[in-house]
C-alpha cells in the first residue's frame, strides 16, 4: 500500500517574485493568502473546500492563516521537520493525509518576506547580546534554538549555509575531479532557462567569463554558485485523484513521494561527521531509492528534473544520487550539455530555479513540475509525462516527489 496515484495536484498559485525585502509592505501572511487564493482559483475550488495543510520549513502559524482565511474546518495540519529539505515532501505529506482519509483538499505553501528578517544569513550563529553576562551561556539565537552542538561549528566562523556546502563541494572536487566549470554549467544553463520567463528575477545572460571572474564568497563557491534571496509565496493544492478529475485543470498525479534520509546523514552540514562513503553527496540517496520504488519508475523514465538548487554543486550531487549519472560523474555529465533544455538528456530546472528565477525555498520547483505536466510551461519539455521534484540537500529530512500527467 502506498500513496501512489491516490492524490493529484490540482491548483498552483503564486505572488510575483521580488528581490529580498521588496515585497514590503505586503506581510508574510498577506503573501501566503494571495498565493493560496490564486491556487484555489486555478483549481476551480473555493476556499471553503480547503481542509488541510501539509507544510515544511514552518512558513507561518497555520492557526493564524486559518482564522484569516476563514477556513470552515481544518481537519489536518502537519509540517515536515527540518527546513527546505522537505519542500517536495510536503506534497507527499498532503497525499498521505488524503490517502489516509484525514483530509480531502490540502494546501502546501511557502511564504517568504525578508524585509524584516533575512533568511539563512547566519543560521548557526548566536546573536551577540550586549546585555549578556559574559560566560553565562545566555544570549539570543538567530533562528536556532540553544544547541551545544553548535559550539563545534560557530567558533570557526562557519555560520552560513554557503560556507557549509562549500565543504562538501571541495570534497567532491577532490574525490572526483569536479571543476568550477561544472558548477558554472549549472548556473549558466539555469540562467538560460530563466531568461525566457517573465517571472524570473535574473534575465541577463551569464557567461563563463563572468562566472569565473565573480567574487569568491567561500571558495570553491563564488557569487553565482549561490541562489537568489527573494520574497514571494507559492501554494499548491492537492486533492483526491477522484475529485481531481472534475476540476478546472488537468490533474497532475502524485506517483510517489519520500522523505527522510540516513540517520547518520543527520544534521549534515551542521556537524560534518557524516560517513565518508556519502559525505560528498546530497544526502538524497536513500530517499531517491524509495521514491523510485514507490513510483515504479527509474531515472531513465523522468522527463524533467526540478532539483533544489540553493548551491550549484548540490545540483551535481543530486544528479548522482537520483541516478541520472554515476556517483562522481556529474561534472562530466553536465559538461556534455546533459541538463540543458530542450535537448539535454534530462532538462533540469526549466523554470530558472532558485539560482535565477526566484528562491521561495523550493516551491517554485513544484509549480514548474505542474506546469510542465499540464503542458503549459514556458520552457516546455515536449510531451513531458513524469517530473521529479526534490527538496533541498540539507539536514534530514530531505525529500523527493514524482508527479505524472
Amino acid at each position: 500500500m502506498s500513496i501512489r496515484n491516490s492524490a493529484a495536484v490540482v491548483g498552483v498559485g503564486s505572488t510575483p517574485y521580488y528581490r529580498r525585502g521588496e515585497s514590503w509592505p505586503q506581510t508574510t501572511l498577506e503573501l501566503a493568502c494571495k498565493a493560496i487564493l490564486a491556487a484555489v482559483d486555478d483549481a476551480g475550488l473555493r476556499v471553503d473546500d480547503i481542509d488541510g495543510f501539509a507544510l515544511y520549513s514552518m512558513p507561518l502559524d497555520v492557526a493564524l492563516l486559518a482564522q484569516s482565511l476563514g477556513i470552515p474546518e481544518v481537519r489536518f495540519t502537519a509540517t515536515l521537520t527540518g527546513g527546505g529539505g522537505g519542500a517536495a515532501g510536503s506534497v507527499g505529506l498532503a497525499a498521505a493525509a488524503i490517502h489516509g482519509g484525514m483530509a480531502e483538499c490540502v494546501v502546501s505553501f511557502l511564504t517568504l518576506q525578508q524585509a524584516q528578517r533575512r533568511f539563512g544569513a547566519a543560521f548557526a550563529l548566536r546573536q551577540p547580546d550586549k546585555n549578556e553576562k559574559k560566560g553565562d551561556g545566555g544570549g539570543a539565537y538567530s533562528g536556532m534554538p540553544h544547541m551545544p552542538e553548535m559550539d563545534f561549528a560557530s567558533p570557526s566562523g562557519l555560520i552560513g549555509p554557503g560556507q557549509m556546502f562549500a565543504l562538501l563541494a571541495q570534497r567532491h572536487m577532490h574525490l572526483y575531479g569536479t571543476k568550477r566549470e561544472h558548477f558554472a554549467e549549472v548556473a549558466i544553463s539555469t540562467r538560460e532557462n530563466a531568461i525566457r520567463r517573465p517571472t524570473s528575477l535574473m534575465r541577463e545572460p551569464l557567461t563563463l567569463d563572468a562566472y569565473m571572474s565573480a567574487r569568491m564568497i567561500a571558495e570553491p563557491l563564488c557569487l553565482y554558485d549561490f541562489c537568489l534571496e527573494t520574497d514571494g509565496a507559492v501554494a499548491v493544492i492537492t486533492t483526491t485523484a477522484e475529485r481531481a478529475r472534475d476540476l478546472r485543470q488537468k490533474p497532475v498525479y502524485v506517483l510517489g513521494s519520500a522523505n527522510g534520509g540516513a540517520g547518520r546523514w543527520g544534521q549534515a552540514i551542521m556537524w560534518m561527521n557524516m560517513p565518508d562513503e556519502y559525505f560528498a553527496s546530497s544526502g538524497h540517496r536513500p530517499v531517491a531509492k524509495r521514491l523510485y520504488e514507490m513510483a515504479g519508475v527509474g531515472p531513465e523514465d523522468i522527463d524533467v528534473a526540478l532539483l533544489y538548487d540553493h548551491f550549484t554543486p548540490m545540483v551535481l550531487m543530486q544528479l548522482e544520487d537520483y541516478g541520472f549519472c554515476e556517483v562522481g560523474e556529474s561534472g562530466r555529465f553536465v559538461a556534455e550539455g546533459s541538463i540543458r533544455w530542450p535537448h539535454g538528456r534530462i532538462p533540469v530546472n526549466t523554470h530558472g530555479g532558485n539560482l535565477s528565477e526566484a528562491y521561495i525555498i523550493g516551491m517554485t520547483h513544484i509549480r514548474e513540475a505542474v506546469e510542465q505536466l499540464r503542458g503549459s510551461a514556458i520552457n516546455q519539455v515536449k510531451d513531458a509525462e513524469l517530473a521529479l521534484v526534490t527538496g533541498g540537500p540539507a539536514s534530514i529530512p530531505v525529500s523527493g516527489l514524482i508527479l505524472r500527467r
Partner: protein
Amino acid sequence: MQRRRVAPQMPEVLARLNPDPWTAPFWQAAREHRMVAPRCRACGAFRMPPTPFCWKCRKQDVDWVELSGRGTVYTFNVTRQALLPFLRPAVPYVVAVVELEGAPGVRLISNVIDVDPSLVRIGMPVRVAWDDVDDDVTIPRFVPSDAANA
C-alpha cells in the same frame, strides 16, 4: 600554562559556548590545552560532538581519550566574504574539517591558521594550536604540522 590568542582575528563572540553535561569535558580539556574525544566504553566507537548515547551500540558510558592533537584536513573552504560585520577583520579565513589522529571516524570543524589559504589542501597534516579566546574559553585551531610551534 601560557595563555595567548593564536587566532585573534576570529571573533570572541562566536566562541561563547553553551556546553551541556556531555560536551563540557571536551571544553574543559581544551581549556587545559588537551585534545580529547569520547570513546564508547562498551564498543569503542568515538562520537563527536559528544552525545548521551553511542550511535553504534546505544550504551552511554565513555572514556575521554587523550589524543595527539594531530590530524589531517578532510575538507576546507576559504571564506572570503564576511557574513557579518564583525568577521570583516577575519577574512579571508580557512574553515577546515579535521580528522583527528587516534579517533577514527570523527572530525572536528575548525580553522587552519598561519598559512597562505591558497596552500591548504585536503590531506594536509595539521596540528592543534590552542586559542585562548578569553578568561573562560579555549578553542582548538590548527596549523600545518611542519610549521607547528606548540
